[in-house]
């Protein structure tokens, strides 16, 4: 907690505490009273007796600043408390009750927010009289709409979370839900905003005082001091600078504390933020290009350098791919599938990454390409489709512009020609009425249609390899079938290769020619689909296959349970990474990492591979070896 808030937070808190203490103790502090004239020679600069110097009447500036803090902080804290006291209940009511209460409160609030606050404060204070109470009340009340909106927003965001629903299912009463489930979550953003609100109020009070419309002389106020000091700017700048600096520091501190608290409202912290460091290069084996391969990946490594250590997201992956083939990459979440794709494409973050290995595309070594050269490859020779079609398209550009863009950039087509070609592409991925579709925006399309659009974009320049990272995971099963069929058909038509990433074994089984099974950033088994699924050698692959329910199994069939969960990639166990979960592990597995060995092209990394032949309908309970 302490480290997360940072040093600045504590310095700022210290400063606020200091100013607050000085304001409270002003009467007993050893300096002249704020209104004592000729406490020292007029207009003298800082000295031991008067640390902030004296003003035109010889009054002690430090004393005046400290007494001014009473007004500033008093109004700041008072107005925020007042605004919160009125705004919070309204906000909670609006956020939690919704419907009528919400509609009424928010309608009034909208109107209230449509006022230029400072001008109104000015007018009210001018009409009602400039004194502490009026200033405090006006600034407090003017803050109410903002408070209401903030608290409502926070309440609303939590009131719709499932844990609140769960509490209601438990039979918890509304009042308790508000206090136990919602309030603790709303408190942090509210505290954060309270500090920012204090900064706002201190500035507003200062503005009024500067205009002579806050607490009246002789009581000093920061704004008033700055206004007075202006006249001495040429002869005694310290008179204006002292209150200015104090005020600036105070406002800065309030803002800083608020800002840090806001950062705190995110409870989870990944600890995965990459450290700031340039891209490092990891050692890798010498490249040995394979003749005839379209895409060849050798010993590819991507490590994220984090405060917890190196996260080995991809750790020595090699494969080759030929035209007209589909290579599938399977593995559980976090096994490095997506990072492998991004490493091949060179789409890694610019900092905090160490990378190594080689990628060859038809003899070109992509890993040696400059970013400029790489851009000629991306889009043209390598196409990409991602998992979530909802986020894969730019929400504020039309489908037509987006599909036509690679055509114009890479193939130099004119606007009209690119649009025609885009319509043709959309038709080829099965989008009805493509011409009309060009003018639409992504949010007007269903998920399946959007995924078709992203596929059309990936294919626009006729790539050699299509990378599809979980292209159907976000889609319904009937639509998934359509999209996978489409990708397969396009592969045939265009004679390209496909790299299909999926966590779904049945998808892989049906559509892949070759399969890579990944675990903890490494390849643990690789071979043809038949090898991997019917002649499984790696215990992990076998366990995965038996853990997935199948339609052909009887109801209530006992699934194989793999205990534990995948390792933390920053602390992969020595030896075989799967050992803590492996049913066949022996001592050797803990000591030595098993190498990836080939048996007639079927690779597996295991000291004690399973030897059995699995057929589709075989019961899974009998995992003999």
């Amino acid at each position: 907690m302490r480290r997360r808030l940072g040093l600045g937070f504590w310095i700022a808190t210290g400063w606020i505490a200091l100013v607050l203490a000085a304001a409270v103790l002003a009467d007993v502090l050893p300096f002249a009273r704020y209104d004592e004239t000729l406490a020292g020679p007029p207009q003298t600069g800082p000295s031991a007796a008067h640390p902030f110097g004296t003003d035109g009447l010889g009054r002690d500036v430090l004393s005046r600043v400290v007494y001014g803090a009473r007004v500033s902080l008093g109004v700041g804290i008072g107005a925020v408390v007042l605004g919160l006291a009125i705004g919070a209940p309204l906000g909670v009511l609006a956020g939690y009750r919704k419907r009528a209460a919400d509609a009424v409160i928010m309608a009034v609030n909208d109107v209230a927010l449509a006022f230029p606050a400072l001008v109104f404060a000015l007018a009210v204070v001018a009409f009602a009289g400039a004194n502490l109470r009026n200033v405090l009340v006006v600034l407090g009340v003017l803050g109410v709409p903002a408070w209401t909106r903030l608290i409502r927003g926070a309440t609303l965001s939590f009131a719709e979370r499932e844990f609140v629903l769960a509490a209601r299912v438990l039979g918890v009463r509304d009042r308790r839900i508000l206090w136990r489930e919602i309030m603790p979550n709303v408190a942090v953003p509210a505290a954060s905003y309270a500090f920012i609100g204090m900064a706002v109020v201190v500035v507003a009070e200062g503005s009024l005082a500067f205009l002579g419309l806050s607490v009246q002389a002789p009581t000093p106020t920061w704004g008033g001091l700055i206004n007075e000091g202006r006249t001495l700017m040429e002869t005694a700048p310290h008179v204006v600078l002292a209150p200015s600096v104090v005020m600036f520091l105070t406002v800065l501190s309030f803002n800083l504390v608020g800002d840090r608290l806001r950062a705190l409202s995110d409870v989870r912290q990944s600890g995965l933020e990459p450290v700031r460091q340039a891209v490092a290069v990891l050692p890798a084996a010498e490249p040995r290009p394979v003749a005839g391969a379209l895409l060849q990946v050798e010993d590819l490594r991507t490590h994220f350098l984090t405060p917890r250590g190196a996260v080995k997201a991809v750790d020595g992956v090699s494969f080759t791919l030929e035209r007209g083939k589909t290579l599938a990459i399977v593995g559980e979440s976090g096994s490095g599938k997506s990072m492998l794709i991004r490493s091949v494409l060179g789409l890694l973050p610019g900092t905090g990454v160490a990378r190594g290995g080689h990628v060859h595309l038809e003899g070109d070594e992509l890993t040696a390409f400059t970013p400029e050269e790489m851009r000629q490859v991306l889009g043209r020779r390598l196409g990409t489709v991602f998992q979530d079609p909802m986020t894969a398209l730019n929400p504020v550009r039309t489908i037509g512009t987006q599909v036509a863009e690679p055509l114009r950039v890479h193939l130099g087509m004119g606007r009209g020609q690119a649009r025609e070609e885009a319509a043709r592409l959309l038709a080829s991925v099965g989008i009805p009425d493509p011409a009309r579709m060009l003018g639409r925006y992504p949010h007007q399309l269903s998920g399946g249609m959007r995924q078709r659009v992203t596929i059309a974009m990936a294919l626009s320049c006729g790539p050699d390899v299509l990378f599809a990272d979980e292209p159907t995971t976000a889609l319904d099963v009937t639509i998934q079938d359509q999209v996978l069929r489409l990708i397969h058909r396009l592969r045939e038509e265009r004679d390209m290769a496909v790299v299909l990433v999926s966590h779904d074994l049945s998808v892989v089984r049906q559509w892949a020619d070759e399969v890579i099974v990944m675990y903890a950033g490494r390849v643990v088994e690789r071979g043809t689909a038949a090898d991997v699924f019917e002649r499984t050698r790696m215990p992990y692959t076998e366990a995965l296959l038996q853990a997935a329910p199948r339609l052909t199994d009887p109801a209530h069939h006992r699934l194989r349970v793999i205990p534990g969960r995948p390792p933390d990639l920053a602390a992969v166990p020595d030896g075989c990474a799967f050992r803590p979960r492996c049913a066949y592990a022996q001592d050797r597995c803990a000591e030595q990492a098993p190498p990836l060995l080939s048996e007639g092209g079927h690779l597996h990394a295991c000291w004690y591979p399973t030897g059995r032949t699995m057929t589709e309908n075989e019961g899974a309970d009998s995992h003999g070896r």
Partner: protein, 353 residues
């Protein structure tokens, strides 16, 4: 689907939960409403697991929430052990609702990030105080099952013991887990905590809304196995909702297939997979890669995309995508009816038999 009707319901005194003609509506802006659930009926016998499958937006979750009256359905009846829930209000509803518990899809968002696991799990007993478990005698009860000494006492040491026992029952170590907060756990562990929170109240029916959809295969198997174990141990009755037919088949005794807010087909799970009669069920099964069921390719069983639920097709709602659709399908909504007089029901004019 599409259809309505109640031919598939069993006599009331044989079932624990009976849902009849459930209708759930939501405002869809501009004064329109969506019927997310449109006349769905089903029932559950004690100790039975009913699976509900369908694609996103077909009304699975709305059905689940209507069962616990959050929000109450627009129309229809939900009867738990003879007590009509839809007409209950206030305190009476709150009391009855705890006999139904729910497990949600998103393991992270269903736990309050600022509370400790112990407080999360103990919330139910704390709210209900020393009240005797609602169904303590009926099926053994979680508390008597795992900790016969602590049952009935909701405060002090008794409660702590109950929490420890239930955490242990879901496969978490109370010593390390109880004092931590949800973000320190993985998705699978969070789901275990959710299950513990639901079980400690000894519910009669547990509604699981996509409980494993957010989990990896290996963790999914762990949670499915856990649910089966707990069900056997505490005699639970489950409603299990998922979009993955293979998962649903694995845990369910009977399966209900939904499309666009309507019932398509209801059958014992083996029967449904072996002899799917409704064109939509067949398409769903054929779309599953490598299902090995010998169905024709999916693209011959279904086409296009689901229509908007705001303006569903007339007659049978599946007709816009159905290869068997005929004129009659556009004008007459199919009623649910038994096939071969058995326990297999289908709502289609031209089922595949």
């Amino acid at each position: 689907m599409a259809g309505s009707g109640t031919a598939h319901l069993r006599p009331r005194d044989e079932v624990l939960l009976q849902v009849e003609d459930l209708v759930v509506e939501f405002p869809a802006g501009r004064g329109r409403t969506v019927r997310a659930v449109s006349g769905v009926s089903f029932d559950l016998a004690r100790g039975e697991t009913l699976g509900i499958v369908g694609e996103s937006g077909c009304g699975k979750s709305s059905t689940a929430r209507a069962l616990i009256q959050l929000p109450p359905p627009r129309a229809g009846s939900v009867r738990l052990d003879g007590v009509e829930l839809t007409t209950l209000r206030g305190e009476a509803l709150r009391r009855t609702r705890r006999r139904l518990q729910m497990i949600f899809q998103d393991p992270i968002s269903s736990l309050n990030p600022r509370r400790r696991v112990r407080d999360i799990v103990a919330e139910g007993p704390r709210v209900w105080g020393a009240a005797a478990p609602v169904n303590g005698g009926v099926n053994g009860g979680v508390n008597s099952g795992v900790n016969s000494g602590g049952a009935g006492r909701a405060d002090g040491g008794g409660l702590d013991e109950r929490v420890d026992a239930v955490l242990e029952a879901v496969g978490l170590d109370p010593r390390t887990a109880a004092e931590r907060r949800p973000h320190e756990f993985s998705g699978g562990q969070c789901q275990r905590i959710s299950i513990a929170r639901a079980l400690i109240l000894e519910p009669e029916v547990v509604i699981c809304d996509e409980p494993v959809s957010a989990l990896d295969v290996s963790v999914q198997a762990q949670i499915l196995a856990l649910l089966e174990d707990l069900k056997a141990r505490f005699g639970l009755t489950l409603v299990f909702i998922a979009h993955d037919l293979a998962v649903v088949k694995n845990v369910s005794d009977r399966v209900l297939v939904m499309y666009l807010g309507k019932t398509c087909e209801l059958a014992p799970s083996e029967e449904l997979i072996a002899r799917p009669a409704h064109p939509y069920t067949r398409a769903l099964l054929a779309s599953i890669p490598g299902s090995g069921l010998g169905l024709p390719p999916a693209d011959r069983l279904i086409s296009g995309e689901p229509p908007s639920p705001v303006s569903p097709p007339s007659g049978c709602r599946f007709r816009t995508r159905c290869p068997r659709a005929a004129d009659r399908c556009a004008v007459e909504e199919p009623e649910i009816r038994p096939l071969n007089g058995g326990d297999h029901f289908v709502a289609c004019h031209y089922p595949d038999i």
